[in-house]
């Protein structure tokens, strides 16, 4: 009996240690990724990198200034389109929707959320690039907004739903109409969660490459016009990483570090916001 117990205990210790190893391995992956980018990209980060335009193929120097601006432009456009739509749809789902239609919209939003980003790019190419007869920042922004809308809608709905009934009923009892209750009481109560969702959504689309491949294409020069191809950070990383030039590799690392830095900052701040403001009076 004793030996059986010893064996069982041994297995117990081994397996539990293994699970600890699994946890360490998986959670350290992020540290490794970040560390690697810092190590390789850090040395190329200087002011000229952020302010220069790309130079000719194979030449040294040059920077990613237009890529940063291009990304900001398209993500900004996507936010301009996607946030209002997502917010309003979320309000509808949480406050107004009936059973069947609500289910339909939720299902569709989840469906849209699950569409692979390359397919979104295909769609945007068909409905924006081809009719406009040009690659454009507009097409890129629209493709990105398609990814932002479902995340924002579902997230808004979720946080609005978490606002306690007492608050809603209190507002209505004081004589507010539904829309006033929503606008002045319920949404503000849920604003931390909603904002978090928006920040996370924007961070996610700013790292997307596939939808931009056939919509925004790329540009060596400055571009601010909506109807011209635009450089973007993720596409630049992709192009430079797959090229043979050492100078481009350096820039890819640095650009990757910039992108990852932005995304991580957004994600961490979003979580901090939510964890600090989490407790609502019940």
């Amino acid at each position: 009996m004793k030996s059986l117990n010893r064996r069982r205990n041994a297995i117990n210790n081994v397996m539990l240690t293994l699970t600890g190893v699994c946890a360490v391995v998986t959670s350290s992956t992020l540290i490794l990724v970040l560390g690697y980018l810092l190590y390789n990209g850090g040395k190329s980060l200087n002011l000229s990198f952020f302010t220069n335009l790309p130079v000719g193929q194979g030449e040294t120097g040059g920077g990613i200034a237009n890529a940063i601006v291009g990304s900001a432009e398209m993500v900004g456009l996507a936010a301009l389109i996607g946030i209002p739509i997502g917010l309003m749809a979320g309000v509808y789902l949480s406050e107004f929707s009936g059973k069947t239609f609500g289910f339909l919209i939720r299902y569709t939003a989840d469906l849209l959320n699950g569409v692979p980003s390359i397919v979104i790019g295909l769609f945007a190419w068909t409905v924006v690039v081809v009719p406009m007869k040009t690659f454009s920042a507009l097409a890129g922004g629209i493709a990105l907004s398609l990814m932002l809308i479902p995340i924002t809608a579902r997230n808004t709905e979720q946080f609005l739903q978490e606002v306690p009934r007492t608050m809603r009923e209190g507002a209505l009892a004081l004589g507010a109409s539904r829309w006033r209750a929503i606008a002045t009481v319920i949404i503000p109560a849920a604003r931390k969660g909603i904002m978090t969702g928006i920040i996370l959504g924007v961070a996610r689309i700013s790292g997307e490459t596939a939808p931009l491949l056939f919509t925004a294409l790329g540009n060596q020069f400055w571009n601010t016009g909506l109807n011209q191809p635009t450089a973007s950070l993720p596409v630049v990383i992709y192009t430079y990483a797959t090229a043979p030039y050492e100078s481009w590799h350096q820039q890819a690392w640095a650009a990757g570090l910039v992108l990852l830095g932005l995304v991580l900052v957004a994600n961490i701040s979003a979580r901090l916001i939510v964890s600090r403001g989490a407790s609502l009076p019940k």
């Binding site: 539990l16 946890a23 990724v33």
Partner: protein, 322 residues
């Protein structure tokens, strides 16, 4: 004077006719935006369907079983890409499920709450890392590692099986599988951990009271209890892996072939669309690529649907909320 309250739905309680008008506007506005989501999704499916019709009409269901991909003669078949997509995702899960569920077990059963939260936080942040960054790192670290260390080691140890033959380029199915595994960790760990944590304490305590070791209690009672949620997490990870484009394109080797060897290079649906769409000349070629997009869409939609279903069942079952 009947007041038609049914217009807005049973939830609203109008105080007076005038305010109801404004509520109606609010309802209408938000409804329109919600409808927009429905409309755009329908439009997307429609465009996928219609833009792929030249190819669907020409090849029919044979498209899914043909291995031939020849832009010159306009003959297209999806099998190599379906094979590559399924194989790389399968490899990814093969690696990430044991690691991920193991980690989830540790994080939910063994780790002190603060450590558990901290490590989970790190893992969940991994989900935010853009795909192209994984690709970037893979090109300069994983591919050389595969080519110089992992590949030759596997080849010498397991070269007698058909799965580890052929030249070792460093790119290929296995490399893609590994990078996809890393990308699916967060989904598996986060959702499995939630599922495990929602198993009622009584279950564990009953097992321990009966003399089981912690491992036995976990392995034989807790994990099976949470299995639906764990399966849900696997499906979520699978859905992500199937649709992954950039990291895979950078490491798969871009060969529209079907090979048994995991060290061989192949192709996936998402990767071939990304590489060939900008240059697909002619109606049939473009339509074939869109049809591939349609296939991928249906695939991910099915898997996602299953995942949602499983997670729904688990949360309803395990939470026991009033």
């Amino acid at each position: 004077m009947a007041t038609p309250t049914a217009v807005i739905g049973a939830k609203s309680k109008p105080v007076s006719g005038r305010l109801r008008g404004a509520d109606e506007v609010a309802w209408a506005v938000t409804f329109l935006f919600a409808l927009l989501i429905l409309a755009v999704t329908i439009w997307l499916v429609y465009e996928l369907w219609s833009a792929s019709s030249p190819s669907r009409e020409k090849f029919g269901f044979g498209f899914l079983t043909s291995r031939l991909w020849n832009p010159v003669t306009d003959e297209f078949g999806a099998l190599p890409y379906i094979y590559g997509t399924v194989l790389t995702s399968f490899l990814a899960l093969l690696i990430s499920v044991p690691l991920g569920v193991g980690a989830a077990v540790y994080l939910s059963e063994l780790a002190p709450p603060k450590l558990s939260n901290a490590l989970t936080f790190l893992v969940e942040l991994l989900a935010a890392v853009p795909s192209v960054i994984f690709g970037l790192i893979a090109i300069f670290t994983l591919i050389p590692l595969m080519r110089t260390v992992i590949g030759p080691a596997l080849k010498s140890a397991l070269g007698w099986t058909p799965f580890f033959t052929g030249p070792v380029f460093g790119v290929g199915y296995l490399t893609a599988g590994i990078i996809l595994a890393i990308m699916t960790f967060p989904f598996i760990i986060s959702v499995s951990r939630e599922a495990l944590m929602s198993v009622p304490r009584e279950q564990r305590e009953a097992a321990l009271a009966l003399g089981a070791t912690k491992w036995e209690s976990t392995y034989q009672i807790v994990v099976p209890f949470a299995r639906l949620g764990i399966f849900g997490s696997i499906f979520l990870g699978l859905a992500r892996a199937l649709g992954e484009t950039m990291a895979v394109t950078m490491v798969i080797g871009n060969s529209p072939t079907i090979k048994a060897s995991l060290l061989a290079s192949g192709h996936t649906i998402a990767a071939v669309i990304a590489s060939e769409f900008t240059e697909a000349t002619g109606k049939i070629y473009t339509a074939a690529l869109v049809e591939l997009g349609l296939v991928l869409f249906v695939l991910t939609m099915t898997i996602n649907g299953l995942a949602q279903l499983l997670i729904l069942i688990t949360t309803k079952k395990g939470s026991g909320k009033a």
